[in-house]
């Protein structure tokens, strides 16, 4: 391959890659953030319930802390989902 031909091809490739850098439409992160939502809700509920269980074990107040923290966990999960949905729209 002649050298000047290679140089023009390099110029074209550089231009295309520069254009792609500022063009965020085909970003794979949109699929990534969609996958993120699935476990966001569940994990907060699980963590809340575990915290409630630990409090109940230490204070001996069997059902109450689990009940409270379960619902707090649900709220935290919903905030998580809303927050990541907001991030997606940015």
């Amino acid at each position: 391959m002649p050298k000047d031909q290679f140089k023009t091809r390099l110029e074209i490739a550089k231009k295309i890659s520069k254009k792609n850098l500022y063009d965020n439409k085909n970003n794979p992160s949109s699929i990534g953030t969609a996958f993120k939502l699935s476990t966001e809700l569940v994990s907060a509920v699980v963590v809340g319930t575990i915290i409630g269980f630990i409090f109940d074990k230490t204070f001996g107040t069997k059902p109450w802390f689990i009940l409270i923290f379960f619902f707090v966990g649900v709220v935290a999960g919903i905030t998580n989902v809303i927050r990541s949905a907001k991030n997606m729209q940015k």
């Binding site: 794979p28 809340g48 966990g73 998580n80």
Partner: protein
Amino acid sequence: MTQFNVHRIGPEIKVGAFDISFTNASLFMIISSVAILLIFSLGSKKNSLLPNKIQLLAELSYTFVSKMISDTAGSKAKPYFAFIFSLFMFVLFCNMFGMIPYTFTVTSHIIVTFVLASFIFIGVTVIGFIKHGFGYLKLFVPSGVPAVLLPLIVVIEIISYLSRPVSLSVRLFANMMAGHTMMKVFGGFVISLGIVGGWLPLSFSVALTGLEILVAFLQAYVFAILTCIYLNDALNLHH
């Protein structure tokens, strides 16, 4: 299922009450690390303007991760490039090695992903406290909240912060485990339906293999991008 069994290779090693023997999980972690090292040492050996395939692979993955970091966490996260890059490569290679028949998928075990996620969680928290001191605790107190609601909001924020490593690890583990189980189930259908009815599940499992390769890549990507997002929260504190 036998593909998820962890068994010992070689002699049993015990430190106190802990069993730290060499297992097939450790073997596949070592295989993926060695494969990463090989590809990147071969790829960066000679820097030619016209890259060969291995060099192209190394350069592509480098620009991919570096673009991902600058998009999500900004220029302040540049010093953590090496960490995120190796994390992404490790998860990707573990997922991809799991796609080869008769191999062991390291990331289909929750303990592996949970340890990875807890290291990220602890590391990000430590970085946040180093950069902002006790001002990092402002992450749990959103601005513009009436004082009456503040205790409740703080508890909710703390739970949502603590749920990060759980969601990070469960997502990767569940996706890998579910995919491999599904392939196993469809493979079982092929055997039990025999030569007459087995063609439909066979075509399903071919399609599933393609889907699984996509998921293997995507989950590694999600794992890395969420690390970037958490790092971004720690570095640029604003709510």
